[in-house]
């Protein structure tokens, strides 16, 4: 009887077993959160700790000997600022091209009345599984005279087939009758996509912007091979050099001790650079998150 009265208030009966499970569940999830957040947190506290404590391994939970000298060193490096601007430029322009071309490719393929739809879908999907390889791709970019220009970074990855197919699947979910009624009202194809389809596709657009922008932000290999001028490098290329090069250099035997002076402050400097390059793209997530989860799910279920 007693339990019945309780169940009136909470709609479900909450058993002891469930409570124990909840507690354990929370503990397990908190541990998971800790495992995910701690590395980020660690990088943050090392970046603001004094190099002496870092190299002694004393920095574990709280920053010690708080100093912003690492950030000062980073900000004094004009190369980093310039590459930062480059990254912003490549990300903006690249994402714009991606969204434009992907949606223009996805929309026709989503239309059942599009002539030869299956053939075109096959041709496009084929590129997902077979690629020309790096050398032919490089030669193509070279012959198109894109080497050492921004276009070598933003044009070759203009459409990601995978993302385009997610988009197409989303477009397919929009009832065809909407298009038909728009057509009857005198809209042409461009008007239909611009005024009917795209306004209905905000979730998928937000998702795609995020996918593509993060991709551009993190991309480093195309910049490495297609760009020759240092002034055009994005920040990831410099970041990788700063973070990785120290690891190789210390094994060099020909002229060894030259490395050593820097070793004392290296770690917090490296981590400061990581923080600076990661923060902007992290800040984008919360704003796009609500669209993000919805967009991915919609595409997936209807697929």
């Amino acid at each position: 009887m007693k339990t019945r009265i309780n169940s009136k208030n909470s709609a479900f009966k909450i058993s002891t077993g469930y409570r124990i499970f909840s507690v354990l569940n929370y503990i397990a999830l908190l541990l998971l959160v800790f495992a995910t957040v701690y590395p980020m947190y660690y990088i943050l506290i090392v970046s603001i700790s004094s190099g002496t404590f870092v190299s002694r391994g004393d920095v574990t939970i709280f920053p010690r000997g708080i100093t912003f000298s690492a950030y000062k060193t980073v900000f004094q490096n004009s190369d980093i600022w310039r590459s930062y601007i480059n990254t912003l430029l490549y990300t903006t322009v690249g994402t714009f091209i991606n969204i434009l071309l992907s949606s223009m490719c996805a929309y026709p393929l989503s239309r059942k009345d599009f002539y030869g739809r299956s053939v075109f879908t096959f041709i496009v999907a084929f590129t997902m599984f077979m690629s020309g390889g790096m050398i032919p791709l490089y030669l193509t970019v070279l012959k198109l005279r894109l080497i050492d220009t921004m276009w070598a970074i933003v044009l070759p990855p203009a459409i990601s087939t995978y993302n385009m197919i997610i988009m197409r699947t989303f477009f397919q979910g929009i009832p065809i009758s909407l298009q038909e009624s728009a057509f009857l009202d005198g809209a042409n194809d461009l008007q239909i996509i611009w005024k009917i389809i795209l306004p209905l596709s905000k979730p998928i657009m937000a998702t795609m912007v995020l996918f593509y922008a993060v991709g551009h932000w993190n991309s480093f290999f195309p910049a490495l091979i297609y760009l020759n001028s240092k002034s055009k490098y994005p920040v990831q290329v410099l970041l990788r050099n700063i973070v990785i090069a120290g690891e190789f250099a210390d094994q060099q035997t020909s002229i060894g001790n030259v490395e050593s002076n820097f070793a004392v402050i290296a770690t917090n400097y490296k981590y400061a650079v990581i923080i600076i390059s990661v923060v902007p793209i992290l800040l984008v997530y919360p704003f796009l998150q609500k669209h993000f989860a919805k967009g991915v799910m919609v595409g997936a279920i209807k697929g």
Partner: protein, 547 residues
């Protein structure tokens, strides 16, 4: 249903046809694109003219140079040294800077697509892999006929012949200028030895005793720590302990048959290396985590006073001392003279200090190669080297009474507080030394000068260089002879399987899982896998050179 298959098939074929027509038509219309061509390229019309003018290139000429950028020393475009080079030679260096962490990736793509800048940094492997393909300019004729300054270096350093491939030279080696000699060495906390009245060890056996005594006094410590894995450490200690390892097992031993290549792990002497490390491990002297410790963990132990000894790049001791002194003003790491091994011999190898292992290749497609070669030759001259290592005469350096360049103090003073170190900041500011484009390149010479001027130099450094410099145990390293491509392939094959087998064994013996007497079986299987053939390939290649 059937109809739609046919329709789709026809559509597909049509598309393929159209596409192939489009590409077919555009092909001839496209001019062959040469990655090297530069609008600014102005070739000298006539060689005789250039000889009459005082500058190497009569007209302004742009030469593209590609090399890796070390994060400690950011490369600036057209820095003072490059401006000075332009003033003297009329040659404008246009740097293509690649992050050193991924220089290999970029270089491989450019080599594979034959799309090289005029000059690029390469190494011996590239010469072996690509030399025969005709993408590098063959240089031997130029060396013998056109070059003055480089020829002088070439003749005075006979070992340089080892960078050739079948008698042809494909890259100009970067030659070190006045490099202080240095090598792996034993470094110990001498302040602790004094504090506890312990004699500094002179042999490897004494070393274990000394460290064991320290372990007794500091029970929580791990007196001898290592970094970067077992093999890297065997490379460092094996030669001192009477065997050797080189980079991958094969090394040159001066003391075997008057000097020859030996595959270290397949010799009975190698048992001494493993049994010595085992002894250190059993005595609790060697760090329990020696096999897996990273560089960062290693540094933590040394700079927090948990470890007292390392056998590695001995110059690190200077930094760790500075770091330790922030909490313990008396702390002092100092290098020891090389310890005697169980046979009473003291053996150690210097780092390569003449040829740094880096070369600059010239693209076979370069325009007007004569001027380029003449320019490179000039880079090996006193004048070229001074500019590319000290900057601008009168502004950043002056020649002393002996004609040696010396940095000017007032210039250097501006960089006292620079990060990561004053000398790196100066190198970066001027565009100089071996991390920039310099062919007769300084490293320690410029560093010492700058550190003495900025006051970062201390007595500890003098003591350190004194000990290393006066230690007669160190011998010059032997540069490996060039192998033919068949030989190189064979070596790769043998080593791949052999080292997989061997690298699993070392730790078992060091940690005492297996008794050292069982190592004979490992030697046997190494011999079965081709240890003798490896030695033969290297020794034959070496003999070929002297003929």
């Amino acid at each position: 249903m059937k109809k739609s298959y046919v329709r789709n098939g026809i559509l597909f074929i049509c598309l393929v046809l159209i596409l192939s027509m489009v590409t077919g038509c555009t092909q001839p219309a496209q001019k062959p694109v040469d990655g090297n061509t530069n609008k600014n390229d102005v070739t000298t019309p006539d060689n005789n003219d250039t000889e009459q003018t005082s500058k190497i290139s009569e007209k302004e000429r742009v030469i593209k140079v590609m090399f890796g950028e070390h994060p400690n020393q950011p490369v600036k475009e057209f820095a003072p040294a490059q401006q000075e080079i332009f003033k003297k030679t009329n040659i404008k260096l246009d740097f293509e800077i690649v992050p050193s962490s991924n220089y290999e990736d970029k270089k491989k793509i450019l080599l594979a697509t034959n799309n090289l800048p005029d000059i690029l940094k390469i190494n011996k492997n590239d010469v072996n892999d690509y030399g025969k393909m005709g993408i590098f300019l063959p240089l031997m004729d130029y060396v013998n006929n056109d070059m003055v300054y480089f020829k002088e270096k070439w003749d005075s350093i006979p070992d340089l012949i080892k960078v050739t491939l079948d008698g042809e030279l494909y890259g100009f080696p970067v030659i070190a200028r006045n490099e202080a000699k240095n090598g792996f060495g034993p470094v110990i906390r001498v302040d602790l030895l004094e504090k506890h009245n312990i004699e500094a060890p002179e042999t490897f056996d004494e070393l274990i005793d000394v460290l064991a005594q320290l372990k007794e006094i500091y029970p929580d410590s791990s007196p001898w720590s290592m970094r970067s894995g077992t093999v890297k450490n065997i490379q460092k200690v094996a030669y001192m302990l009477g065997s050797g390892y080189g980079d991958n097992g094969i090394y040159y031993d001066y003391d075997v048959d008057g000097g020859r290549y030996v595959f270290g792990p397949a010799t009975p002497e190698f048992k001494n290396v493993l049994s010595y490390l085992n002894k250190a491990y059993e005595a609790g002297v060697l760090d329990r985590d020696y096999a897996v410790a990273t560089k960062q963990q290693w540094e933590e132990k040394l700079t927090s006073g948990k470890s007292f000894f390392f056998l590695d790049n001995s110059g690190f001791g200077l930094n760790y001392t500075n770091n330790l002194r922030k909490t313990d003003p008396d702390a002092k790491f100092q290098v020891l003279p090389i310890l005697a091994n169980q046979d009473g011999a003291r053996r150690a190898i210097f780092y390569a200090t003449t040829f740094t292992g880096e070369m600059y290749g010239v693209s076979a497609k370069v325009k007007d190669p004569d001027t380029v070669i003449k320019f490179i030759d000039w880079m090996y001259s006193e004048e070229g080297s001074n500019i590319s290592n000290f900057g601008v005469e009168g502004e950043t350096f002056e020649l002393d009474a002996n004609g040696e360049p010396q940095f000017i103090e007032s210039y250097v003073k501006d960089f006292v507080d620079a990060q990561p170190a004053p000398y790196y900041a100066i190198y970066s500011d001027l565009g100089i030394t071996k991390l920039n484009f310099s062919l007769w390149a300084c490293n320690t010479m410029t560093q010492f000068q700058i550190e003495k001027l900025t006051g970062t130099w201390s007595d500890l450094y003098d003591e350190y260089w004194g000990i290393v410099g006066s230690d007669d145990a160190y011998v010059e390293p032997v540069m490996d002879p060039p192998l033919t491509s068949e030989e190189a392939d064979r070596v790769k094959d043998i080593l791949a399987s052999m080292n997989t087998m061997l690298e699993q064994e070392y730790d078992k013996f060091i940690m005492g899982v297996k008794d050292i007497s069982e190592y004979d079986a490992v030697i046997e299987s190494a011999k079965d896998m081709g240890a003798a053939e490896l030695e033969e390939i290297y020794n034959d290649a070496l003999a070929r050179l002297s003929n």
